[in-house]
Amino acid sequence: MRIQVKGGRLLDPANKLDAKQDLFIAEGKILGIKKKPDGFDSDLQINAKGKIVLPGLVDLCARLREPGLEYKGTFITEGLAANSSGITSICCPPDTDPIIDTPAVIELIHQRSRDAGRTNIYPLGALTQSLNSEQLAEMHILKQAGCIGVSNALKPIDNAEILRRTFEYAHSCDLTIFLFAEDNALKNKGVAHEGALSTRLGLPAIPESAETVAISRALLLVEQTNVRLHFCRLSTAHGVQLIRAAQKQGLPVTADVAICNLHLTEMDIADYNSDCHLQPPLRSERDRTGLIAGINDGSITAVCSDHQPHEADAKSAPFSLTESGASTIEHLLPLMLHLVNRKELKLEKAISLLTSQPSNILNIDKGTLQVGKDADICILDTDASTSVDENNLLSTGKNSPFKGWELQGTVTHTLLNGEVVFDRSEL
């Protein structure tokens, strides 16, 4: 398929590209920008006049629920939801069922996601076998099979000696560790940020120190082992400070934040709204602004959806008994634009946090608009608005904490490897 994207504003912060130019696509690649390649004859023209043409978005963490939890979502349903937000590449944590700790599971994931044909999938392998936090996973074999990093997902590693060994071993495999930093003992079965709200509602609380102690411990071990460490889902302002200092010191660490923590605070739990039961928890407004500051000064270089679709029953119970996580993938881009509209972020920054910068963390060749690269593209209409309505969600998970929000900006087209995988007019 030869496609000409006409008249759009091409925006690719990584290449300092921001211009009204045409884009020419053939055989899955970007064949030309601005100037029509010789002999190019398009099968399809997409009118992008008045719209922004972006690299396909790279989501650093989304659970599409396959394999094993198909009642919560599949590569097809969640892939479509992702495409509707312009996402074309997704990094998946290893806590599927079965867990991603053998090449067979990776094979299965690649095969099923290829069949679904909606996004590129980049699985993270388990850091410990069965995520048991005791024995090293076969990291080298997992890497050979296609894992781009290793992670213990949300499972804590309490034993510092084991944590140290995982760091050392991953380092010798030249793998990046994706670490969710939360001290299990300090978390103490908490379900909400320790503060005025958890006190008022009587919810078991997670102190700030559950994050900062875990970050500090990991940083000291990075210093010793020199492993590349990516901190997943920061939630506290103090945590950002620790990472900033470590980066200044030259440690090979990066960090991301989930979109919910940039918009919501503990107060959004209000009267036990289980859609706001998240891990890490929603914290204070001070933490939220600290995370925004961390983005603006470059300490945090990616924003992910942290998409976790759930069936209705999983969220229907007293707050502590509900499962954590939010269904967010289809509003990732409009929610980022919302921060731009509120002047908390610049547009270029917002886009690079969703494209080139997560690609750098994953060390994949995605997230830019350059001749010769894969034609993963999204077309954004900033004039159209999206209202978040449970009945219109594409995801199987209706557990969005943003229900009732009006967001500016909507994706009209998403292309994966030069093929149109999403066209809003056909919904």
């Binding site: 320790e194 503060g195 005025a196 709200l197 958890s198 006190t199 008022r200 509602l201 009587g202 919810l203 078991p204 609380a205 102190p207 209000a270 009267d271 036990y272 029953d313 229907s316 119970a317 007293p318 707050f319 502590s320 008994l321």
Partner: protein, 326 residues
């Protein structure tokens, strides 16, 4: 922010009673007034009024409790309602039945009211959002969150002894962190307009940000009791000795146990309260618990009147309806 949207019907009447937070002073006073009218019922030869005749009330206890369940049961019987006792604990849920399945089963039995006790905070709120519109929910204790009828019977006891709330200093002593009673008392006291509410406990038993609920925090019991009119002791659970919250019962008693000596720091006419059951020699000395300033046994009997009042009000009835006004 909590509560009033879900607790009140469109006319501002009490529909569910889930928390003392968010309700107006006049509504709380109204509950106390109603309870006053019911208080005499138990002293009569025939201890019944026919206000809820034909109504079915289900005691849904997901967490074991004898005392609270019994007082609710007695209150329901005095109002002539039929009462169903269900100790659900974990039996239904371990069979894979969800909480909302259980509720819908009970609805099908045409219950009119659920009295709910549950180990998780927010359970009563959750149930109130799930039930059919004609059903009222009364919170008999949810996790660490609220125990509003206990708080109201304490308010009733205070009002009977002190008449008005306006100039009172009240101290709540003990495990504030885990206490639903304390939270409900704090909201009720502040709404009823006391001069000051204090909480007294070691740092490990004070939840973060508790000042935002409108209390002053004291770690030293003697300073904390200075000049107070009401002392509300909390029960200390044995399991707090595990988990590094407290070293031992002996040490707790030494630092926070209410003795006659410590009582002398309070005003001479200060009353001593306790929601029961008492740990003698842990949070309170026997001589104080049984002493003349103790109103602990009165609290128990007031509990029935308060629960009758709340049941009648949430079902849209008042004692005036039968000409039994006090």
């Amino acid at each position: 922010m909590t509560g009033n949207i879900i607790q009140l019907d469109n006319n501002g009447n009490l529909k569910h009673f889930l928390s003392t937070e968010g309700l107006s002073q006049s509504l709380l006073q109204n509950i106390l007034d109603h309870a006053e009218s019911f208080a005499s019922v138990g002293e009569r030869h025939v201890k019944k009024v026919p206000l809820l005749r034909g109504k079915t009330i289900a005691n849904l206890f997901f967490e074991p409790s004898t005392r609270t369940r019994t007082t609710f049961e007695l209150a329901a019987k005095r109002l002539s309602a039929d009462i169903l006792n269900l100790n659900i604990s974990t039996s239904a849920t371990s069979k894979g039945e969800t909480l909302s399945d259980t509720l819908h089963t009970l609805e099908a039995m045409h219950c009119d009211m659920f009295i709910v006790r549950h180990a998780n905070s927010g359970a009563a709120h959750y149930i109130a959002t799930q039930v059919a519109p004609h059903i009222s929910v009364i919170n008999a204790g949810d996790g660490r969150h609220a125990h509003p009828t206990q708080a109201m019977l304490d308010m009733f006891t205070i009002r009977r002894h002190k008449q008005s709330f306006e100039n009172l200093r009240v101290a709540i002593v003990g495990d504030i962190l885990h206490s639903r009673v304390a939270r409900s008392e704090i909201h009720a006291l502040n709404t009823l307009g006391v001069l000051e509410t204090r909480v007294i406990a070691p740092h490990t038993l004070i939840p973060k940000g508790v000042e935002d609920l409108g209390v002053h925090v004291y770690h030293d019991i003697e300073t904390g009791l200075e000049g107070v009119d009401v002392i509300m002791m909390l029960r200390l659970q044995r399991e707090r000795m595990r988990g590094a919250l407290l070293p031992s019962e002996q040490e707790y008693y030494q630092r926070y146990g209410l003795t006659s000596e410590r009582l002398s720091f309070a005003k001479p006419d200060a009353i001593v309260m306790h929601p029961g059951p008492i740990n003698r020699g842990v949070e309170i000395d026997s001589s104080v618990a049984d002493g003349e300033r103790s109103v602990i046994l009165q609290q128990v009997s007031h509990g029935i009147a308060i629960r009758m009042a709340v049941m009648a009000m949430t079902m849209g009835r008042s004692n005036d309806d039968t000409g039994n006004a006090a």
